[in-house]
């Protein structure tokens, strides 16, 4: 801390020799130990986001390195936030939980305060993954990521990130598949490594929300020959399905309140998960091939297979 204060205060480059003179006993006497201690402090400061500039001198002092910090390089300029704006940020940070303290830290730096009371509403979009810092940094600064996913080594240019339904997704160009792919952050295996900043450009028409398929799109994304099934849903659950798949999916409202829906089923595994969530309150009517498949699944399970 004294090293930082000194470098800031002197506002001119200092050599290690000068630093040691100024700080006196705060560094060990032996050159080697002092150098090591200085390097440690320097690294710690850089870690905190304080860039220490260096320059190697020529002439008489050839080979000697000078150090300084430029306040404008690490100090936050005054954003001139109004009290109202600061209060709004405070409320946002109190309401939205990320699972890390970065939001509060930002707030303090912006001159705000953590609201210590309780909120009547809260939103939890926790990104508590161990790789969080590396990934968000890479997305923000356009660094290529390297990680293992489904047992394969992937190299991905992360175009964007999306939080939906409690999961965080990375959408990017997958060098292995040579195509755009979606990855779930919590399914990444092991540690993520990031390359240099500004390693790629994000396509201009990239839409991060559209890049991650919705449940409806997921049910439609498959290689099954039959792409749509007619599903009868009992009155108790029909309203929910109607909201989820939209009015256009309704084929017929029956008198007893049950509804026939046209539901995508090209992705049969996904379709099965969706259908069986309704247990005995839903039934596939058509086509016969899909109905047979459902019966086959049920028979296998009933037989304990």
């Amino acid at each position: 801390m004294n090293l930082l204060a000194l470098l800031v205060d002197r506002a001119k480059p200092l050599t290690l020799r000068q630093v040691r003179q100024e700080l006196g006993k705060q560094y060990p006497d032996s050159d080697e130990a002092a150098r090591a201690a200085f390097e440690r402090d320097k690294a710690a400061l850089r870690e905190m986001g304080i860039p220490i500039e260096t320059k190697t001198l020529g002439g008489d002092a050839a080979g000697e390195v000078t150090y300084w910090v430029n306040r404008s390089n690490y100090e936050l300029s005054d954003l001139r936030l109004t009290e109202e704006e600061r209060a709004a940020l405070q409320l946002a940070v109190a309401t939205v939980h990320l699972g890390a303290q970065h939001g509060e830290e930002a707030l303090w730096k912006l001159g705000g305060e953590r609201i210590l009371g309780k909120a009547s509403m809260s939103v939890n979009i926790g990104l508590v993954d161990k790789n969080m810092n590396v990934i968000t940094d890479a997305v923000m600064k356009r660094k290529t990521l390297n990680f293992e996913y489904k047992g394969e080594k992937r190299q991905v240019d992360p175009y964007g990130m999306l939080s939906r339904n409690g999961f965080w997704y990375i959408i990017g160009f997958d060098h292995l598949r040579r195509d755009k792919r979606v990855f779930r952050v919590d399914r990444i295996e092991g540690l993520v490594l990031a390359g240099e900043a500004r390693a790629f450009k994000t396509p201009v028409d990239f839409d991060v929300a559209a890049a991650v398929p919705t449940e409806k799109q997921m049910l439609a994304a498959g290689d099954s020959e039959v792409t749509t099934a007619v599903v009868l849903v009992d009155a108790s659950l029909a309203a929910g399905v109607r909201r989820e798949f939209g009015e256009s999916s309704v084929i017929r409202d029956r008198d007893d309140g049950s509804v026939e829906f046209a539901i995508p089923c090209a992705n049969l595994d996904g379709f099965r998960l969706w259908l069986f969530a309704m247990v005995e309150s839903a039934e596939v009517l058509e086509p016969q091939s899909v109905r047979d498949q459902v019966v086959q699944w049920l028979e296998n399970l009933a037989a304990g297979k």
């Binding site: 100024e22 990320l98 509403m121 990130m161 049920l298 304990g304």
Partner: protein
């Protein structure tokens, strides 16, 4: 008034529930932390302390006088830790370390007092992680029901925009759009009882009940409301997307706040089951809260979870198919087969 009394009695007589709720919390936090602030462990390193000071000093200099206790709470430190850190700062400065060259912060009569700033009067730039957090939190808050999209939060975000790296534009949060969230939130603020029609898939029943909403929250892609449930006489959590009807009653209860860590996730009488989950049914591990998990050598996972009903477990087993087996209790070993037979009988009727 009678309601309030009942609610108070209810809470004090329910230690069992509290523990159920907290076990859910700890299980769930494997994926989504409930608390905004992870607990700190072990002693703080010198670097951590200095880096904390670099945030605290500009903050205190802006305010000049703050109670030690208030400041400690603000920064999640004990008062002793805060005093220790500020004492360290107070002896820092530049040579020759005479009083006028020291960082001018001292404590007096329970107050922290910062006077003429020497160095560190301006906060450090926001780190990428902090920019990410602010950007995500603000854009999420802007999506909340009732948010003013042209208000002070939006203009604060606009002022922060020049600091954001280019990639921040493609980081998005999508909150589920669910009916009644806005109305329920208003009810939390007024204490108005509401009559709801609620569908419970656990029992396959639709009930009409009166609730007093206490907190509206989103977790893992779903909206919930924590409320006093006047039907069961308990504090309960309801899924907002299962509320089919919501009507105000014009009866108002005294306001009561519910902290995140006291959410009544479950009613008391919950049964625990242990499942062996194979890799293909891994979504179970990812989607549901569990009490404990054991990873087996073959890649399967033994998961112990609380279930709300036999029907709910049957549904889970049906969906997972042969990717999951019930280990405990024995009476549910045949549940997958029984559930499949029930559904099959429906198909046989219309064959």
């Amino acid at each position: 008034m009678a309601t309030k009394k009942r609610a108070a009695k209810k809470r004090s007589s329910k230690p069992a529930k509290k523990s159920a709720a907290s076990s859910k919390r700890s299980a769930k936090s494997a994926r989504s932390a409930k608390s905004a602030r992870p607990a700190r462990r072990g002693p703080r390193s010198a670097a951590q302390r200095v880096s904390g000071l670099l945030v605290m000093l500009p903050w205190i200099m802006q305010r000049q006088r703050v109670k030690i206790s208030t400041m400690a709470r603000q920064f999640n430190l004990s008062e002793a830790e805060l005093v220790e850190d500020l004492q360290m700062a107070a002896v820092c400065g530049v040579p020759p370390y005479t009083p006028d060259a020291l960082i001018d912060v001292y404590m007096d009569d329970g107050m922290v007092i910062a006077e003429v700033p020497l160095v560190f009067s301006r906060p450090l730039k926001l780190s990428t992680a902090e920019l990410f957090a602010v950007s995500v939190m603000a854009q999420t808050a802007l999506q909340l029901p009732g948010a003013n999209k042209k208000g002070p939060l939006a203009s604060a975000l606009a002022k922060l925009a020049p600091l954001m790296p280019a990639g921040a534009e493609t980081i998005k949060v999508q909150l589920p759009k669910t009916r009644f969230v806005k109305e329920l939130l208003a009810a939390v603020e007024t204490g108005e009882r509401h009559e709801i029609e609620y569908f419970s898939p656990a029992s396959l029943k639709r009930t009409t009940r009166t609730i007093t909403p206490r907190k509206v929250f989103e977790d893992s892609g779903r909206w919930y409301v924590a409320a006093d449930d006047h039907l069961s006489g308990e504090d309960r959590v309801f899924r907002v997307d299962r509320i089919e009807k919501l009507v105000g009653t014009q009866i108002f209860d005294q306001l009561r706040e519910v902290r995140d860590d006291e959410l009544p996730w479950f009613s008391e009488s919950l049964q625990k089951v242990t499942l062996r989950v194979q890799k293909q049914a891994r979504w179970i591990v990812e989607s549901y809260p569990y009490v404990s998990r054991v990873d087996n050598k073959d890649g399967s996972v033994d998961l112990t979870m609380s279930i709300t009903s036999k029907h709910w477990l049957g549904r889970l087993l049906l969906r997972a198919g042969n990717g999951v087996k019930v280990l405990k209790p024995v009476e549910y070993r045949q549940l997958a087969s029984q559930t499949a037979q029930n559904v099959l009988s429906r198909y046989k009727k219309t064959a």
